[in-house]
Amino acid sequence: MHITMQGIYKAFGTNQVLTGVDFELKEGEVHALMGENGAGKSTMMNVLTGLHSLDQGKIFVDGKEMYFKNPKEAEQAGITFIHQELNIWPEMSVLDNMFIGKEPKKAFGLVDSAKMKSLAQEQFARLDVSLPLDKEAGSCSVGEQQMIEIAKALLTKAKVIIMDEPTAALTEREIQKLFEVIASLKKEGVSIVYISHRMEEIFAICDRITVMRDGKTVDTKAIPETNFEEVVRKMVGRELTDRFPKRDSKPGETVFEVKNLTGKAFRDVSFSVRSGEIVGVSGLMGAGRTEIMRGIFGLDPIASGEVLLNGKKVTIKNANQAVHLGIGFITEDRKDEGLVLDFSIKDNIALPSLYSFAPKGLIQEKAEKDFVDMLIKRLTVKTESAETRVGDLSGGNQQKVVIAKWIGIGPKELILDEPTRGVDVGAKREIYQLMNELTNRGVAIIMVSSELPEVLGMSDRILVVHEGKIAGELPQETATQENIMTLATGGQ
């Protein structure tokens, strides 16, 4: 299938998002789409597949002018979209999730469950996923959910598959598997639009790349004819020197320590973090890293073990206690757990430190506003005012608001779970810089991340989690992708 989009315009209310983008997808190619958060990548694909109507512009499919009225129509025509935001029904089984809206039918319009099972198994085998089909999707980890979505897309026998950040929640092994599948799809003549913020991936699997900025196409090039620096420059409109800013903080005393922590999904976890140190936590999808952090923060019950802060034993039974002790937790899913999307930036940032603005019971709005404005400035959140609704910000800026909110409590210890998931290169670098700034001021940081380059680039020490246990610890100097992966997969 061959698709051309010409001069596409799209506005949401007064927000002009697409201002004349052009895009061309050839048959059997893997076409990368890159751009900063909010550049309009997802929107453009939503316009193509009929989820949003376009204001202006033309779309040609195989040379014929064609506009889809809704995603279903696009899918019937052979265009499948794996959305950035997972479309999961948490209460339904994995199997049901894969067939909603396209159930195979048998006599009398009844659903053919047997056929569903065999079709699903076929795709899972192809992706090397071993998930029970009757498991509730909501109890799968984000990564597993992503694999369900990919399998679901493969079921449609599409001629074009759009993948919007498919690897954001995946770890190395799944990513490799996905790349194999993409390669075989390509051989079958399927075209793929690949949206990602991860440079390595783009250069590993794509044939051509289109870079967008501020709702316009900046350039389209064949991958061999361009390079990392050029792409970044075109995306952010300026030169970005190094991806990972230099760390020069000197770790001090041990601030934070856990001993023999055991919970539902992890056992015997012990580690410590010193002031000014960044400890990276790596592991495979579903290894239990998030669960450990939730346990520490008092969100999940702990069976045994202890937590020490500044050498003193503390009990954390709920998030409130954790916050009072000066621990901050930036969760992996900012929309679901990190932000009140309908709140303004100000209200979100002030949320965990509300009482400090209300010494006499009433909130002192001036003090609150000054404080928030200061944080917005320091974290360079791109916004017109502190009153902007957080839900209207781009992903990177939302992430900065979450971080600002926790900086606001004056933390001794910050837990960052996937801090740069879905964040563009520019914003990513700013977040790294922030982390450095924090450690320079003595904050201890635990950074859970599935992006190996990030773990390697930012951590002072690396813990590797395998099946709920700490499989090993690597100092920054000797850590490599290979030895992390060995530990993560249970090897020695």
């Binding site: 989820l51 809704n70 995603p71 279903k72 129509e73 899918e75 959305h83 479309n87 999961i88 029904w89 948490p90 209460e91 339904m92 049901d96 067939f99 909603i100 809206g101 396209k102 159930e103 039918k105 319009g109 009844l110 659903v111 109890s139 539902k264 999904a265 669960e291 939730r294 969100l299 999940d300 019950p301 757990e337 999307l341």
Partner: protein, 323 residues
């Protein structure tokens, strides 16, 4: 967005939980039945069981429709009012000479139309189901009073089919109970074996995702509210036949009994989760409670106290965890 703290934790003992979740309401019913029959053995007499089945059939039909509505994450407060309005209109048609069975059919279709009004207010009008059906409840009740002028409609003649419809027996089983069972089977298949049923769950589980997956969400919703209206009207027809008249105030607060039955049956008010079989159990729990408390001669004042407490205990046992 709504979520209880428990969503943040993970389920302890998944297996145990899934077993109690499936058997929970059933166990509750069993305990209740054993208790009532020990206290008053006449509870188990065949005639009482048949009575019980006939008594629950009205709430059952309404609760079946409510199950679909609640599965989509909605609620329908207007069912009692639809019951009254369609029952009055049906009776009016019979009095003015329509064939009673035809009148019932038309009445049910009118019920479906009233339900569709709810559906349209919710989908096209983007009103919250609670407030949309609260408003139409007031509206339909008002229309019923206007139409009947506050008087019951009587003189429905002696068409035997019509009388059988609410009062007769078929193969020894009360006809309303037969209607209930047939409806249950049809709806069970619809909910669990057809794409429509899956779409119902999908809308309740994640409406945005359902929309993206190409489900015609507004259409499905309108159909579901129509179904709810249809079933309310059907139970209204049974009531009309049983009472041999249409009462202007019929069905008052039936919506609450139906909702209670659905929830007792383990269906989550936040949508996407639940089973119509559970609703049947929930209906029976409420029916046994009403029937049993009367049999035990519990004063009507204490009946309400007991009912409130039983609902609380049953739901707590079932550990419903939806917001």
């Amino acid at each position: 967005m709504k979520a209880n703290s428990e969503v943040l934790q993970t389920s302890k003992g998944n297996l145990l939980q899934s077993v109690t979740q499936k058997l929970g309401p059933f166990l509750g019913l069993l305990i209740l039945v054993v208790f009532v029959s020990v206290m008053n053995p006449s509870f188990l007499e065949p005639l009482n069981i048949l009575n019980l089945l006939r008594q629950v059939s009205i709430n059952a039909l309404i609760a079946f429709g409510m199950t679909f509505v609640i599965l989509t994450g909605g609620i329908d407060l207007s069912v009692g009012a639809i019951l009254a309005l369609s029952s009055a209109l049906t009776a009016g048609m019979i009095v003015s000479g329509f064939d009673p069975m035809l009148a019932i059919l038309i009445g049910c279709l009118l019920g479906a139309i009233f339900g569709a009004v709810n559906g349209l207010l919710i989908t096209k009008g983007k009103m919250a189901p609670f407030i949309a059906t609260l408003a139409t409840m007031t509206l339909f009740r008002g229309l019923t009073l206007v139409y009947t002028e506050g008087n019951p409609i009587t003189g429905l003649g002696d068409n035997i089919l019509f009388q059988l419809f609410g009062r007769g027996y078929f193969l020894g089983i009360p006809v309303p109970a037969v209607t209930m069972i047939v409806t249950f089977i049809v709806l069970y298949v619809l909910l669990h074996k057809t794409p429509f049923g899956r779409q119902t769950y999908a809308i309740g589980g994640n409406e945005k995702a359902a929309l993206i997956s190409g489900i015609k969400v507004p259409r499905v919703k309108v159909l579901i509210y129509s179904l709810s209206g249809f079933l309310a009207a059907l139970s209204g027809a049974i009531l009309t036949s049983r009472l041999n008249s249409a009462q202007p105030t019929a069905g008052a607060s039936y919506e609450l009994d139906a909702i209670a039955a659905v929830v007792l049956g383990g269906t989550s008010l936040s949508g996407g989760k639940g089973r119509i079989f559970g609703t049947m159990i929930g209906v029976l729990i409420i029916g046994v409670l009403n029937n049993g408390l009367n049999l035990l001669g519990v004063s009507s004042f204490y009946q309400q106290v007991v009912k409130g407490i039983v609902i609380i205990i049953a739901v707590l046992l079932d550990r419903k965890k939806s917001a």
